[in-house]
């Protein structure tokens, strides 16, 4: 799938330069919801096997950008996406591209937990099943268990795997959705505020998980917690009113941002 397109070459060059390869790249991404423009020409690279955090005030377009990365916006009829977004150098909005494969490779945890009205077990097993990732029941059981464990939910639900996922508490549902997403082992995981409903301990566990996943996966996370962004991400991008204000290594962003707005936002002096 890695074709030697221009982007591909560029990526290889990047590889040589010892900086991490670029897994996904957005160039001049614009999004309209009907008449309302939600993103204005966002250029953002997502480096491979790193965690990229998207921060910014509520309504600035973080989720919108995130949903562009695996074309979830396709499901909103009034939504139109412009610009280029590539995955491994390939344009994901190319008509030739296969969105199903794309979404299998670029998984997503949604902002509002949306468990299926099925049992907890079925919620997790769904992805591996449709992708045919496991050969038998035992393997599937193992995947379900390890996914739930990683999402720090196993202990709470191990005795009630057959109960409906919708009967869980808010935070449990959120973790269920995280477990569901990682069960299919995507290359890129998009997480929209994965810890918003979680208590500090669960949050810590999810952050640990993110750190662990980073070894093999590329991760993009939306968060409102500066601390969290600082803790888990290597790169941070700051959005404001639909514009990408600034983007760079997390250390730098949090210590010495270029943009005044970033600084204000991070220090909580915004608005």
């Amino acid at each position: 799938m890695n074709m030697l397109t221009e982007a591909g070459v560029e990526q290889q060059l990047a590889d040589q330069g010892n900086t991490p390869a670029i897994k996904m790249r957005g160039k001049g991404v614009t999004v309209h919801y009907g008449d309302k423009q939600a993103l204005f020409g966002v250029d953002l690279d997502v480096p491979e096997k790193q965690v990229t955090a998207l921060i910014g005030p509520s309504g600035c377009g973080k989720s919108t950008f995130l949903r562009c990365l695996n074309r979830m916006n396709d499901t909103i009829p009034i939504c139109r996406v412009g610009g280029d977004i590539t995955l491994d150098g390939e344009d994901i909005y190319d008509p030739k591209i296969d969105v199903v494969e794309l979404r299998a490779r670029v998984g997503m945890v949604f902002q509002k937990p949306n468990p299926f009205p099925k049992s907890i077990y079925e919620n997790i097993a769904y992805g591996p099943r449709i992708h045919g990732l496991t050969k038998n029941k035992a393997e599937l059981d193992a995947v379900v268990e390890s996914s739930l464990r990683k999402a720090a939910l196993w202990d709470e639900v191990k005795d009630r795997l057959q109960e409906p996922g919708t009967g869980l508490s808010g935070g449990q549902q959120q973790r269920l959705c995280i477990a569901r997403a990682i069960a299919v082992s995507p290359e890129v995981i998009l997480m929209d505020e994965p810890c918003s409903a979680l208590d500090p301990i669960a949050t810590a566990k999810v952050e640990e998980l993110i750190d662990e996943l980073r070894q093999n996966y590329t991760i993009v996370i939306v968060t409102h917690s500066m601390q969290q962004a600082a803790r888990v991400s290597q790169r941070t991008a700051m959005f404001h009113l639909g514009y990408l204000v600034e983007e760079g290594a997390t250390d730098k962003m949090f210590t010495n941002p270029d943009d005044k707005r970033t600084q204000d936002y991070i220090t909580g002096r915004f608005g």
Partner: protein, 462 residues
Amino acid sequence: MVSYLVLLLLVLGVAAYFVGRSRAVASVGGEVSRLHSLPGQHGLFLAMIAAGPALLAVLIWRIATPGIEDSIVQSRFAAELAEFGVPQLQAFLRDARAIAFGGIVSFPDETKEAAAVVFRSLHQTSIWLITAVALILAAGGSFFGYSRIAPAYRARHVVERVVKWFLILCSMIAILTTIGIVLSLIFESILFFSEIPIFNFLFGLHWSPQSAFTGAGGDAGDVNTEIFGAVPLLAGTLLITFIAMLIAAPVGLMAAIYLSDYATQRVRAVAKPVLEILAGIPTVVYGFFAALTVAPFFRGVGESIGLDVASESALAAGVVMGIMIIPFVSSLSDDVINAVPQSLRDGSAGLGATRSETIRRVVLPAALPGIVSALLLAVSRAVGETMIVVMAAGLAANLTFNPLEAVTTVTVQIVTLLVGDQEFDSAKTRAAFALGLLLFVITLALNVIALRVVQKYREQYD
């Protein structure tokens, strides 16, 4: 006059609504938020209590007075009417009324003229009476309601209780209907079972109430109890319904899925109502279609591959019936499928599921109860259909599960027996009632099972 009264009461109701509202507002000096209930609810309460009982009284009056007037006139003219039979009496009253209040007088005479005078005066009196009663009720209700309006008065409760009772009443109609149906079937059925042993009826394998009334079969008492076996009819019903569902369920369901998840809005907006026309085409048309187009077609196909297809076949009737009930499945399912929240579809799509996987594994299970309802409704319709079966599958009660043969259904037999020329008090006609009852009991049992199943597999989303 009375229509003016009703109008007056309606006006009073509307007025009461506004009065109640403003009174409620005034009672708190405009601080609406201090009211327990909305001003509108107070208004509604006052309107209901002011106009409701009076209107009810008028309604009762309207239903009851003609009878009362009639009986008064009858007793007044008892002497003249002594000789009269029922129809003459009725005609007398009809004509007297016509003279009194206008209308075609068929057989005028003097007594009728006299009676008309009585009618007129009676009517006048009764109008005054009801007017007085209604006005008293209205006034009483108004005062009572008006006095109740206070900030803390729970007008909403009253209004909502009325609403709730209305709702309960409405759902009770189903029970009443059921009772009515059972009652209207049971008496004749009992008579039937007094002639035909119930065992023979339920388990008999032979249905052929042939022996006719003219000379054949001897006396009325001499009934052959072996010819009323309901099993072939049930088998036929099952067969035809099954064939129909074999068409309607997949086609309807797939159509629903296509319309709700694949088709563009415009296609859906057109296709759905168009398909719904299928449900409204009179069954005679389907009958002709089945008998003159589909059946010969199947017969031709059958002959060409060496199968012996009867010219009336369960297949033809079932297939056409299936077409007819497609919209029951497609439209109702489409609505429930459409109602499954987008977030669930997103969740599945976000995991890399294809559209069809999302539909099959997430959307359909979530919509299952609704779909089952739709399917049940379609089955019900198929079970109850007659015309297509009569025209395309014939009336011969063969005990067979071969779809290429002629069969008949319970419903068809009920209709044929009821509209036939044989005398009504014969076992043959009564068999119709027994069949109705049997079908009722069987579908009841099936529905109980269906309810259990649905309750078990219900997936509550959100």
